[in-house]
């Protein structure tokens, strides 16, 4: 419908606009996961954290009438779940991968349970910046409606890249992630640093979830997230644990997610489900091409269980 005037030329524009819209949750979740994995732990439960963030953000936005309070509470809810993961994983002999699966089930279960009353009502959503008003074309205007959270995500990616490279905190996180023994010898509390990183990563994933319910698609229901949290985990591996690469990877994944709706808008309806599976296929293909059975991945934190 949107792309009728431009015909097939509308498809790449719609994909670009979709990439910007769809990529924001990917960006936040992958930055959060990047921080967690850099500290030497993997949190596979960010899918559950994302759904919980989406629900709590929407519910609080509805109750308070302020979408930004919703974003904050979504982050705090995510942080609580991240903290739970971090604390349970600090117990000896507990597998972080298994706890992540448990957190995925717990987070979605809690969100469905607590979010039941908020499926119907309409909550205030986040405003958009209209950066495309210079153009007469409604397609370009629609594509360049950008949310503040997207810009915040870019700023955060740059800040994280700088912090990892140039700050004391960044160095501590990297050292804990690369060699727990070295960190312990230097007198840094390994488990505490990892738990904090997991909690902070949960905060970011919760904010990413609130984008889903408060901006695009902009409502809360039980089918809101379809594996974005999990794909973001794979995306971090693809981005080689570099925050700036996470940004480009998130754009790529957002674009893949936008192919289905964009083609539908120009009348290609056959294979709708197959086009919607494009992000999963892309994720799997990327993992196949970037992984190797024989060597550890370049840039992988040394303590990370998932790459060993």
């Amino acid at each position: 419908m949107e792309s009728e005037a431009l015909g097939w030329y509308g498809v790449p524009i719609a994909v670009l606009g979709g990439a910007i819209r769809v990529s924001t949750p990917f960006l936040f979740v992958s930055l959060g996961e990047c921080l967690t994995e850099r500290s030497g732990r993997i949190n596979l439960g960010l899918e559950g954290v994302l759904v919980m963030g989406a629900m709590s953000g929407y519910a609080v936005s509805f109750l308070t009438g302020n979408a930004w309070v919703g974003v904050l509470v979504a982050g705090l809810a995510g942080m609580a779940l991240g903290l739970l993961h971090g604390l349970v994983c600090s117990l000896p002999r507990v597998s972080d991968i298994a706890v992540g699966i448990g957190l995925m089930l717990l987070g979605t279960g809690l969100a469905f349970f607590l979010g039941k009353p908020y499926v119907q009502p309409k909550a205030p959503t986040l405003p958009a910046l209209h950066l495309g008003d210079w153009s007469a074309s409604p397609q370009i205007q629609a594509a360049l409606q950008i949310n503040v959270l997207f810009l915040a995500g870019i700023a955060l990616a740059i800040a994280m890249a700088w912090a990892f490279r140039a700050t004391r905190w960044g160095l501590i996180v990297r050292m804990v992630g690369d060699s727990a023994d070295a960190a312990r010898a230097m007198g840094y509390p390994v488990a505490a640093v990892r738990t904090l990183c997991t909690a902070a990563g949960g905060f970011l994933a919760g904010v990413g979830g609130s984008f889903l319910s408060l901006y695009y698609p902009g409502s809360w229901n039980e089918g809101l997230s379809s594996g974005q949290g999990l794909m973001a985990v794979a995306l971090v591996i693809f981005a080689r644990w570099r925050p700036l690469a996470c940004f480009w990877a998130a754009l790529l994944f957002g674009g893949a997610g936008a192919i289905g709706p964009a083609l539908q808008s120009v009348g290609v309806t056959g294979g709708y489900y197959l086009f919607n599976a494009a992000p999963y296929v892309l994720t799997l293909a990327i993992m196949i091409f970037t992984s190797s059975p024989n060597r550890t991945l370049a840039g992988a934190p040394g303590e990370l269980s998932v790459t060993r």
Partner: protein, 366 residues
């Protein structure tokens, strides 16, 4: 890591004393039971905070799951696919893989069963049922073996890979059920062509429980024998214990990993066939009911022990079965049972840290 070094040496040459075996068994039984008790307590607090009476909730769960013969039949009906999907997690776990793609193998198995059942309609029911089971198990086995193969040959993390494959499987399923394979007569709920009434898998004699439960129990017994009492099973456990040692010993690591994934996938595929051929009569969206995810929980509570899977699946199936009575009587959302399961999962995983800690459970020589 230091945690690995703290593990007790497993490969003692002396025959373990009988009382040591009893201590081991007591540890393996009491720690999960304790974790379940703690999670019931935590869930009780959660319910209390929401202003409901936890005692009433647990009474209703008991009532909905185990109090009457009707409740038991409902519970066992739900336990059957859980047993099979839990095997899809437990058998690869013996080779050291955490595969969580049972849901995908289940829906593809169900689709394969529905298609083969329809194509063979008119033949002898037993032949049709065998063909459906074979098709479903092949589809499920291939799907999970794909995750295992990606792991072995390409180093793709099997946990993420198998879950991505699940999303792809569901997309394929929806594409076929709503597109090329759709029965034109199914208007409101897109389904494949129905299989013959005569070819449906019936109920156990005298009960309102279908044969799927027996399939599950037999599959568990077979897996137990396979893992515990065969050379291949021993080799599988070596691979799971230390893959480098297995390679040095010349074990066919790749074949064992792919084989264990294929066995697990076949179990989950069979769960799809049971759901299609004993419950729904065709493949439709009702297949995507979360049995694959609940199966992960079952396998972890059972600590990947095929024999323990049966009682645990009945317990979890019972909790699932009580969801509707909780909704009717206490006006709790249907996700209530998901919260209870999530809390139980976290408690079980946290309890992993207790193994080998309590003196009482240790072999006296150690």
């Amino acid at each position: 890591m230091e945690a690995v070094a703290a593990l007790p040496a497993n490969a003692g040459t002396r025959a373990p004393l009988a009382s040591d075996a009893v201590r081991r068994a007591a540890e393996g039984l009491l720690i999960p039971l304790g974790a379940l008790a703690v999670s019931m307590l935590l869930f009780g607090v959660f319910v209390l905070v929401l202003g409901k009476d936890p005692i009433a909730v647990y009474q209703l769960i008991w009532k909905g799951a185990f109090s009457t013969s009707f409740a038991w039949q409902n519970t066992l009906q739900r336990a059957a696919p859980l047993i099979l999907t839990a095997l899809c997690v437990a058998i690869p776990a013996r080779a050291g893989l955490i595969v969580i793609g049972a849901e995908g193998a289940l829906v593809l198995g169900g689709l394969a069963a529905a298609v083969s059942g329809h194509l063979l309609s008119g033949h002898a029911p037993l032949a049709v049922q065998l063909a459906m089971a074979l098709a479903a198990m092949t589809a499920g086995a291939a799907w999970i073996a794909l995750a295992g193969g990606l792991r072995h040959f390409r180093g793709v993390n099997e946990t993420i890979g198998s879950l991505l494959l699940t999303y792809i499987a569901i997309a394929l399923f929806n594409h076929f059920v709503e597109g090329p394979l759709r029965d034109p007569a199914s208007l409101n709920k897109p389904s494949t062509m129905p299989i013959d009434e005569a070819s449906m898998v019936g109920n156990l004699p005298g009960l309102d429980v279908h044969w799927g439960l027996v399939f599950g129990v037999v599959f568990c017994l077979a897996c137990h024998v396979l893992v515990r009492h065969t050379v291949a099973g021993f080799a599988l456990r070596v691979v799971g214990g230390n893959v480098r040692a297995a390679r040095l010993a010349g074990l066919p690591v790749g074949a064992l990993i792919l084989g264990s994934c294929a066995v697990g996938g076949a179990a989950a595929g069979l769960a799809g066939m049971v759901e299609v051929a004993a419950v729904h009569g065709s493949a439709n969206a009702s297949l995507i009911a979360g049995y694959g995810y609940a199966g992960i929980l079952v396998a972890f509570i059972a600590r990947h022990n095929p024999l323990a899977i049966v009682p645990v699946a009945i317990l979890v199936g019972g909790i699932n079965a009580s969801g509707s009575i909780l909704q009717r009587r206490l006006d709790l959302p249907d996700a209530t049972v998901l919260v209870l399961q999530g809390i139980a999962f976290m408690a079980i995983l946290a309890a992993e840290t207790l193994y080998g800690r309590a003196r009482l459970f240790q072999p006296r020589g150690a």
